[in-house]
Symmetry: none
Subunit: 213 residues, 2 copies
Amino acid sequence: MKAHTVVIVEDHILLSQAIASLVNSFEDFNVLYTCKNGQELLTKLKTPSNIPDIILMDVNMPILNGIETTGIIKNEYPKIKVIALSVEENDTTIIKMLKAGAKGYLLKDVEKDVLELALIETIKHGYYHTKDVSNILINSLSDDYSSKIQLKDREIEFIIHTCSEMTYKEIAEKMFLSPKTIDGYRDTLFQKLNVKNRIGLVLYAIKNGIYKL
Amino acid sequence: MKAHTVVIVEDHILLSQAIASLVNSFEDFNVLYTCKNGQELLTKLKTPSNIPDIILMDVNMPILNGIETTGIIKNEYPKIKVIALSVEENDTTIIKMLKAGAKGYLLKDVEKDVLELALIETIKHGYYHTKDVSNILINSLSDDYSSKIQLKDREIEFIIHTCSEMTYKEIAEKMFLSPKTIDGYRDTLFQKLNVKNRIGLVLYAIKNGIYKL
DNA sequence: TTAAAAAAAGGGGAAAACCCCCTTTATTAA
DNA sequence: TTAATAAAGGGGGTTTTCCCCTTTTTTTAA
């Protein structure tokens, strides 16, 4: 009988089962069950024998996502440790998940040894952070201004139009503005968002969910 | 010693290793190694002892994606059977992958038993199709809109660099080419991919998994 | 070995993007 | 009502991107 129990919450069944197979190969860990989303997990947790030591939580899931679910777990099951497991590497998502109560954040790009270490450390110390995540946490303390970037409605509208093949002149027509005003918006946003050109702005917009493909 | 060998091509390392762990738990299958993209796979296959019976191939990967890789495998290693494994469920991607030579197409949402069945059937009969994929194949017989867009290695490399704040001049330096050659690549790709400008190219690249944010 | 195809490169010029500085107009708060 | 702030806009000039046409070099296949 293994020492510690794990539950996996991941909407792709095959990945869920594959990760379960991997975790079951670790010496001290046993997967109790898998769930497809946060809602299913909350239903399962009502039965006390279903309470695990650790939950491996995907972030992007339908119905009830990882961030929301983690917040609920923190409030109602404070003894359960949540480790996030995601392809999402942008700072905003990581910060949100950690603020919601996750004790660690692993990318699906890490080696399996890192997953095993994360499980062991979380049991032993209550958390596990990779260097990347530690850096992001540190930066988020000193870059308190960066979470305060406020984009105005018209700025957002402009950004969305830049994520298209339209010239600035065409965007100006679309927004009923002068091309010189568009120049002004561009200059302001390049400074505000610390980008060098339109490509930088488009990448920023997609990365931060301002524009969805 | 198990009967059949499998190789996994998947850019997220942990998923790669988790799927390998799962496949190794199947009675008749053994994972030889994993690769992060098609390019790495092609390098590995040059050693004859690295030739597997089956390749489990992700579709969206940087550098050389699943569709291109599968096409190359079909031409140069016709005995190897490729099964696609992806979150992508749109008809276009499925058709492209099957036309490229994949012997099956599984979603990451299937149960692990379906993966095992697919492996067994592919060894026994040479292919395995779920009902969904069979329906898509039948429907595609009446839609002969086959798009034959082939991207060359250097083109892909160029595309990845355009998804950055570098000027074309800087990209030319990075690729050890003349700026005029970059102009040539740009013109060719704009026509090939039916885009109007660099923004269009960047959006295409992100949408089609050529560039990952 | 030679011809064809692919890759690399070149010239020229117009349009678009970028950057710097500044003013005017409209809205909001005191 | 007036002053401050926000939004819109202007001039001028440089750099970069785009487009069109062509040639040279390298690689591949016959």
